[in-house]
């Protein structure tokens, strides 16, 4: 049994008439990156704030942070995607909900996808930030207090500058995860890279050419991100620390 490869399909026109299939897939990569990057900025900000708050001495703040993390960690990504896309617009005030529902494509799926990925990833970032802060010797915090700094000042000048340099390596893999996870947005109709590979397969019946090309594009993206992050890590490494990474489950 044989599969007849037909790689020339990549240079054939896609049915929408915007260009070749290869071009169609590369535009898909563009959507993947635009979705992932915007979501990443929000996730990093939210995650840093929530992760830091969870290490403070205010008990109700810690509890609220834990609640947030548990909620968004224990619901599958695709279900969260559906919640943002189908459920949230219904729960908002009617005019706002209608405005979201009537947004022209692809923005109608782009906005929920970004919100979903941002919140989902912020939880993981928050966990990394908390772990980074807790990995500092207790003496750092005590020294801050002993010098008469307030809790805010201790965080601002002692704890955060050190911990953010420690948590950078694990954050690299979170960035790769958000790129990969953005493929789930195809379920709410966002035509990113995987979604376009699937569409190409349906239009052209060239199953494996479509998926193989998408796989190669993902591998190249991965390579670029890893190299860029490695350079960044070398730059921010805290002298004298072994940049060891703890094992953890994840995607």
């Amino acid at each position: 049994m044989n599969y007849n490869w037909h790689w020339k399909v990549l240079f054939e026109m896609e049915p929408g008439g915007t260009g070749s299939y290869l071009h169609y897939l590369i535009v898909g990569l563009g959507w993947t990156l635009v979705t992932a990057l915007v979501a990443w900025v929000i996730a990093l900000t939210l995650g840093a704030v929530i992760g830091t708050l969870r290490t403070t001495s205010r008990r109700w703040v810690v509890r609220a942070g834990n609640f947030y993390v548990e909620i968004f960690r224990n619901i599958p990504l695709i279900v969260q995607m559906f919640l943002w896309f189908f459920v949230v617009p219904e729960l908002l005030p009617t005019s706002l909900g209608d405005w979201i529902k009537q947004m022209p494509p692809p923005w109608g799926s782009y906005l929920p996808a970004v919100m979903c990925l941002a919140i989902f990833t912020s939880v993981r970032v928050a966990e990394q930030v908390r772990a980074g802060i807790n990995s500092l010797p207790r003496g750092q915090r005590m020294a801050g207090t002993a010098m008469g700094l307030t809790e805010y000042q201790t965080y601002r000048y002692v704890i955060l500058p050190q911990s953010f340099r420690i948590i950078l390596p694990p954050l690299t893999s979170e960035f790769m995860n958000i790129i990969k996870n953005s493929s789930v947005a195809l379920t709410i109709g966002l035509l990113e890279l995987t979604g376009r590979a699937r569409a190409m397969q349906e239009f052209s019946f060239r199953v494996f050419e479509a998926f193989a090309t998408a796989t190669v594009i993902y591998l190249l993206t991965n390579l670029v991100v890893v190299l860029a992050m490695r350079a960044l890590e070398r730059k921010v490494r805290v002298p004298g620390l072994i940049g060891a990474q703890a094992v953890q489950a994840g995607h």
Partner: protein, 229 residues
């Protein structure tokens, strides 16, 4: 909350759990078993002193970890019938159900993640353990099977189980090949009765309850099995 009809959940309860949740749980259990076995073999490959073997193991793991799960699900959904046809010598791709296709996908995919956990577990074992195994006259497989892996497995049990909770959540992605797992069943009811808000909220609540309870269980286990050194 006027206009919402939570009665739809009660009406479809049997279908959701008897068909959907059974699919999800069976898939999770089987893929976990297969994934841990294959993942352990991959970890042994990656740690092998034969460069070709460790390279193949490493390449497989890195490939799986670089592509999105959704893409891997599509790959196997179309690839498995071809491989089946090739193995059985049939002239055309053979039909495999969504369940078998999903099971193969998740076993192969999660193995890459279980591999990294088991690799760390094996590396956490003191070298003297391996040497004493060889000194006793055990061969590689005996040393691994009786001495290294049982200890590595115990050390890594909480992480392996946490990965399994992630696997449990990830099985919901079989939605993309229209399988009737818990989410798939709920989506079918939601679209038939046009009750998307109620059904997806209910699905989220059920997944949350199960995952959160399991994570509490893992935390409890972690405290109990920790070896005091």
């Amino acid at each position: 909350m006027q206009g919402f009809d939570f009665d739809v959940i009660q009406r479809s309860f049997a279908y959701l759990f008897r068909d959907g949740m059974t699919f999800t749980l069976t898939l999770t259990a089987l893929a976990m078993t297969g994934g841990i076995i294959f993942g352990t073999l991959l970890a042994m490959m990656r740690l092998s002193s034969v460069p070709a073997v460790s390279m193949i193991g490493g390449a497989y793991v890195n490939l799986m970890r670089s592509v999105p799960l959704v893409l891997v699900i599509f790959w196997f959904f179309f690839l498995v019938p071809y491989i089946g046809g090739w193995v059985t010598g049939a002239a055309r791709p053979i039909q495999v159900g969504a369940f078998l296709s999903a099971l193969i996908t998740f076993t192969m995919f999660e193995a890459a993640y279980y591999c990294e956990i088991m690799r760390a577990g094996i590396q956490s074992i003191a070298r003297g353990q391996v040497w004493s195994g060889y000194a006793l006259g055990l061969n590689y497989w005996q040393t691994m099977g009786f001495i290294v892996l049982p200890q590595a497995f115990r050390n890594m049990l909480p992480v392996l189980l946490t990965q399994t909770i992630i696997l449990f959540q990830d099985t919901s992605l079989v939605y993309v090949i229209s399988a009737t797992d818990f989410l798939g069943a709920a989506a079918k009811v939601a679209n038939r009765d046009y009750r998307l808000v109620e059904m997806y909220t209910f699905v989220a609540v059920v997944y949350f309850i199960i995952s959160y309870s399991l994570s509490l269980l893992v935390k409890h286990l972690q405290d109990r099995i920790a070896i005091i050194r």
